[in-house]
């Protein structure tokens, strides 16, 4: 059986190329991510770092580990998806051959064995490539994590035999798991199908496809509906859910959705004979068009849905900050410089907020349990009265008026963490420990990494405050032009001075950049897989259409007309895939828009133009080029030799 599968494997190597690449990619990514994760777990926090620096390092390690974890899951999922769809496709295309084997006396277990051996061969080829590619991938990955700021410079992972073996085994398991469903379907091929030319009448929409497709579509529609009436955070979770489940739903239902959508393209396509032919092919070869469109649907829905959601959130953060801050100018400087701002003519109020290097330890309650926790970051020293005048929202409990002496206020970053008014925390300022009473709880904001605590300025030694980075919100005296004051501030050399609107936009942009850093890695990966899947589908389809193309040429089409016909088909499928993916993303963002109206009064939807502008031409380019190449290679031989020869 292994020898037979070797020959069939060689015969169909083009069909399997995509799956091999997918497995290789998966193994390489799994191995490199695990190696980097192991190195992170082993990494020692260097002695002699300040508490703040330690916390930052720990946070960045945790962030990198989370990102790597998501990478591993995504890689395994996509590898499984591509291997299983490749095998489903090849089984469908090889029905006649499989039926012939049954006719020659092959039993069902033997057919199962044949496909499993093919999967084993494919898995071995992919795994071997992947393990080798995994070594440079490890260096590339840790380099890019350092470049993106997730890991400190000088971080270097080392190779580990156990992890490499584990990744290799996973690659084989993924290949075998991926083939199981297809192998079961192959074993059900009846020998009689070898004798009927309609052998390809196999159903594309199987029962399980119907079931999972319609139920995920129902869940998606329900979520879009619920999303219309939820809070910002709820809407974000829902938007992410809609992107993922909606993508799965439409890709499962693509054998129905693609022909439906191709009807809409009908008027465009029917304007030429070739277009008409292409449209007929689209409708007829449902499996082929669906398997090209499905990865595009998933990619577009995920990329646009996820980045759109996060960018909208960033825009909302900016809008919210703009509303919170009641000032005419915002200046960034050190504490020492900030102290001079109040003396600049035209400045009425200057609220200096210095991020100070102290630690806060306390017990807080969450989900019915109390935790002891020490925080080093986001602790800001303020002057309560000017802070109150420059920041609109009132505390949801307590009052900032009482923020004097040994007291502390819980800022938005810790608002939901279960701190109680009247409780105490221990602060470590310089070498000194002091107990602080919680006197105010500020409401939460949308911002990720917002300030954690506010402490009164008098608690902080002047020398410490002078060195700390400070942000100053400035109100100018009535009747004064803020621009003139800004000029005077710049002349006095008090650091960067911006209008609050500009400052809020910059803040949103910074948030967006942080999102992009994470998503660049994941989406780059997703895009790569989608490209493999699309190329795979187009190549498989082209390779199996040799006879069809030959008939078309005998009927009177020139070779270039056949190529153009296939290109029109591929472009139409690409357009349909992109549109359906966009539909899912639009559904995801609809809830965000509604939540934005409730949270900040305007529907802030950030259309992710950069990914969109990369995706659309990229998708057309890839499908187009692959289609032309595979059609050219399928029409290389004289059509007459193909039309008469049958096997």
């Amino acid at each position: 059986m292994l020898r037979l599968s070797l020959t069939t494997f060689r015969e169909h190597r083009r069909l399997f190329a995509g799956a091999i690449v997918a497995v290789a990619l998966g193994v390489a990514l799994l191995q490199s991510s695990l190696l980097v994760m192991a190195a992170i777990a082993d990494a020692k926090i260097p002695p002699g770092l300040s508490g703040q620096a330690r916390e930052r390092l720990r946070d960045s390690y945790a962030g990198a580990a989370t990102l790597l974890g998501m990478t591993v899951l995504l890689a395994a999922f996509l590898a499984l998806f591509i291997v299983s769809s490749t095998f489903a496709f090849t089984v469908a295309q090889r029905r006649r051959q499989l039926a012939l084997l049954r006719l020659a006396g092959g039993s069902r277990p033997q057919l199962l064995g044949l496909l499993l051996s093919e999967a084993l061969l494919l898995g071995t080829a992919g795994t071997a490539t992947g393990v080798l590619a995994g070594v440079p991938a490890t260096w590339a990955q840790s380099w890019s994590l350092v470049a993106l700021g997730f890991l400190p410079g000088g971080f270097s992972p080392h190779l580990d035999g156990g992890i490499m073996l584990g990744s290799a085994c996973t690659g084989l398991v993924v290949a075998l798991l991926g083939v199981l469903a297809a192998a079961r379907r192959a074993a059900a091929v009846r020998p009689l199908e070898a004798l009927r030319d309609t052998g390809r009448a196999a159903r594309v929409m199987t029962v399980s496809r119907w079931f999972f497709g319609t139920s995920s579509l129902a869940v998606t529609v329900w979520m879009v509906w619920v999303g219309q009436a939820s809070e910002v955070l709820g809407a974000i979770v829902i938007a992410l859910g809609v992107s993922v489940i909606g993508a799965v739903a439409l890709s499962l239902l693509s054998p129905l959705a693609v022909p439906l959508a191709s009807r809409l393209l009908g008027p465009v396509l029917r304007s030429s004979t070739l277009g008409e032919l292409a449209q007929a092919n689209l409708r007829d070869a449902v499996r082929r068009s669906a398997s090209t469109a499905a990865p595009l649907i998933v990619l577009v829905a995920l990329v646009l849905g996820l980045t759109g959601t996060l960018d909208s959130l960033a825009a909302m953060v900016g809008e919210e900050q703009r509303r919170i801050v009641a000032g005419d100018l915002v200046a960034d400087s050190t504490g020492a410089v900030a102290a001079r701002i109040a003396q600049v003519p035209g400045v009425a109020v200057a609220s200096v907020q210095s991020t100070v290097p102290i630690s806060v330890t306390g017990r807080h309650r969450r989900a019915g349990r109390t935790y002891r926790r020490t925080l080093y970051s986001g602790i800001v020293a303020v002057d309560p009265s000017s802070y109150r005048r420059t920041h609109r929202p009132a505390p949801r409990a307590g009052s900032l008026d009482r923020l004097h002496g040994r007291t502390i206020a819980v800022a938005p970053g810790q608002s939901e963490e279960g701190w109680r008014l009247g409780g105490t925390v221990t602060a470590r300022v310089g070498g000194q420990r002091m107990r602080l009473r919680i006197v105010a709880l500020l409401p939460p904001t949308l911002e990720n990494g917002a300030d954690n605590f506010l402490v009164p300025r008098e608690l902080i030694p002047a020398a410490v405050a002078a060195r700390a980075p400070a942000q100053t919100v400035i109100q100018v005296a009535p009747g004064t032009d803020p621009a003139a004051v800004a000029g005077r501030l710049r002349a006095a050399g008090v650091g960067t001075v911006r209008t609050p609107a500009r400052w809020a936009d910059d803040r949103a942009a910074a948030e967006e950049r942080a999102n992009m850093a994470i998503f660049a890695v994941l989406m780059g990966l997703g895009g790569l897989y989608a490209a493999v899947a699309v190329v795979n589908a187009v190549v498989i389809a082209g390779a199996e259409r040799t006879a069809e193309f030959a008939v078309a040429r005998v009927t009177g089409l020139s070779r270039s007309q056949v190529v153009r016909m296939a290109l029109i088909e591929a472009s139409a499928v690409t357009a349909i895939g992109l549109a359906l993916g966009g539909l899912v993303a639009a559904g995801a963002l609809a809830g965000i828009g509604a939540a934005g109206v409730r949270a900040v009064g305007v529907p802030l939807i950030a259309v992710p133009w950069t990914p969109l502008l990369l995706l659309v031409p990229g998708a057309f380019l890839i499908t187009g080029a692959t289609s032309v190449w595979s059609t050219l290679s399928a029409t290389r031989r004289q059509p007459v030799t193909l039309v008469t020869a049958r096997e």
Binding site: L4, T7, E11, H12, L103, A104, G105, S107, E647
Partner: protein
């Protein structure tokens, strides 16, 4: 018109026997009866051709007799054994050892060479395959110099000869043939029919052959005519003229 049926107690050993076989397709109102109570026996060691107009149920009869299709009613016996409701495992073993197939579309595996195709059923059955046997058989059908060729590198007649070589090496007791010469020119067809004659005369194998071609039917020992799913006529030791005449009457 006389309808030929096998009578109980007949002394000829039957390789394949259909007893009141009915085969229906489609649901409810759209139901079509492709075979309508067919009683028919195919004597062992002889070659029977089945003829009839398009849609008369020839192919269905062949598929049911070979166990490729389940019957709606009646019984099918293969070498005295009732295969009417045999499970897939039993039918698989039968396909390896007892029955063979030759079809218009050659049914060769495209990725395997001629030699591998011939050896395939034996290898699937787990038997050791003697390369010499395989080569001898291919040489006997005149393909001694085409061992390593893939089906697509062979002409239609050559592909059909590979299929016959496969039937010779496994020596199935019953060979089912569906339009074996349908895609061949007359010279190739004559070669193939000659080889099939040899299987029956020298090997004692049984052939059940569906055909449209009176010349092919005339190579058989007997011809059975089907119309609307029933056996309507029969000729023993047929001549091309007699077959063509009966067929013209049926189709007219």
């Amino acid at each position: 018109m006389m309808v030929e049926q096998t009578r109980p107690g007949e002394m000829i050993r039957l390789a394949v026997e259909l007893r009141g076989v009915t085969r229906e397709y489609g649901p409810g109102q759209a139901r079509v009866r492709a075979l309508d109570g067919v009683h028919l026996g195919f004597p062992a060691g002889s070659w029977t051709a089945v003829m009839g107009p398009s849609g008369s149920g020839k192919s269905t009869l062949l598929h049911c007799a070979a166990g490729l299709e389940k019957v709606s009613g009646g019984r099918v016996l293969l070498l005295g054994r009732d295969i009417t409701s045999a499970p897939d495992g039993v039918l698989t073993v039968l396909r390896r050892r007892t029955v063979g197939f030759i079809f218009q579309s050659f049914n060769l595996i495209g990725s395997l060479s001629a030699e591998q195709n011939v050896a395939l059923p034996l290898r699937l059955a787990g038997s050791r395959v003697s390369r010499k046997d395989v080569r001898d058989v291919l040489a006997a059908v005149g393909l001694g110099d085409r061992l390593a060729h893939r089906p697509r590198e062979l002409s239609g007649g050559q592909q059909q000869r590979v299929a016959i070589a496969r039937a010779m090496v496994t020596r199935p007791e019953v060979l089912f043939a569906d339009e074996p010469t349908g895609a061949l020119d007359s010279t190739s067809a004559r070669t193939v029919l000659g080889l099939m004659r040899g299987l029956v005369d020298a090997g004692g194998q049984t052939i059940v052959m569906v055909t449209h071609d009176p010349a092919a039917a005339a190579s058989a020992d007997a011809v059975v005519f089907l119309s609307d799913g029933r056996v309507v006529d029969r000729l023993v030791r047929p001549s091309v003229g007699a077959v063509a005449d009966r067929l013209a009457r049926l189709e007219g």
